[in-house]
């Protein structure tokens, strides 16, 4: 059961991350941090379907992560959910068309391996 919940956390987190990145790319760079401007931008972001999808995916991820924490230690649960990490990087390259140079691939591989060790 622990592994099934973990799979749900990973898939929903990945969808959440990618939709969030896609939505914010469409929204544009946030450069004004005054409260009234932030409020306006938050309202604009909510109307963005990709951000709506991200909020839904993150809500699923949150409740399944809570279920995972109720049956596993945080030092297992937190790194283990980073399986979404590898999937995220691949989708950033293929779906979001991000430029990922050698240093980023190497850094991502080191982090992924470190997270793997951390979950053992």
């Amino acid at each position: 059961m622990k592994w099934l919940i973990l799979a749900i956390v990973i898939v929903s987190t990945t969808f959440g991350d990618v939709l969030q990145a896609l939505g914010m790319r469409r929204h544009g760079e946030i450069d004004d941090f005054r409260p009234d401007s932030l409020g306006r931008q938050a309202l604009q972001a909510i109307r963005n379907p990709a951000i709506g999808g991200a909020v839904f995916a993150m809500t699923v991820a949150f409740f399944s992560f809570m279920a995972l924490l109720s049956v596993a230690d945080v030092s297992f649960a937190s790194p283990a959910t980073a399986g979404s990490y590898v999937l995220d990087t691949i989708l950033a390259r293929t779906l979001l068309k991000e430029h990922i140079d050698t240093r980023r691939w190497a850094g991502a591989a080191l982090v992924a391996f470190g997270i793997f060790l951390l979950s053992r």
Binding site: M1, I5, D17, V18, Q20, A21, G23, M24, R25, R26, G28, E29, I30, D31, D32, R34, A42, A45, I51, A54, F62, F63, F65, M66, A67, L69, S70, V71, D73, V74, S75, S78, P79, A82, D88, T89, A92, R93, L95, L96, K97, E98, H99, I100, D101, R103, R104, A106, G107, A108, L110, V111, A112, F113, G114, I115, F116, L117, L118, R120
Partner: protein, 145 residues
């Protein structure tokens, strides 16, 4: 001559400064949120297979509530950071949070950290340093998808 309204460059933070600031907020809120949530869920028993109401009831546990507040801060700051930085930059750099959560689990929740886990923390730190040295916005002006 009357003072002019602040122009965009005057009120805008530099890319490096705001990337550092929001990366810090993302990491700190994620670490505190996860630790508080885990602490709160420790004594509630398994939620798996229980009634759906159990998920709602547990939100009234003070530690879980604190965790939820910090995870909302995490979500909003993560979203802000992604408005200018690549996903392939944000994810590895904020992964240092995993190492901090393991350390926090050791210090505050008395969970064990084996030699292998210490090795994992070292790999994460190396990876974060490597990616942290790249341009947060390496993708040429964001193509519309």
């Amino acid at each position: 001559m009357p003072p002019s309204a602040p122009t965009k460059p005057e009120r805008a933070l530099s890319l490096t400064a705001k990337t550092r600031l929001f990366t810090l907020i993302v990491i700190v809120s994620n670490v505190i949120g996860n630790l508080a949530l885990s602490h709160g869920l420790r004594n509630t028993g398994s939620l798996v297979g229980g009634p759906v109401l159990g998920y709602i009831t547990v939100l009234f546990n003070p530690w879980v509530a604190v965790g939820v507040v910090f995870l909302i801060v995490w979500f909003l700051s993560h979203m802000t950071l992604l408005s200018w930085a690549d996903l392939s930059y944000v994810l590895p750099v904020t992964a240092i949070g995993y190492a901090l959560i393991a350390l926090g689990g050791r210090v505050f929740l008395h969970e064990s950290v084996s030699l292998v886990r210490w090795g994992g923390i070292a790999f994460i730190v190396c990876g974060v340093s490597l990616v942290g040295g790249t341009d947060p916005r390496a993708t040429p002006e964001k193509k519309q998808l």
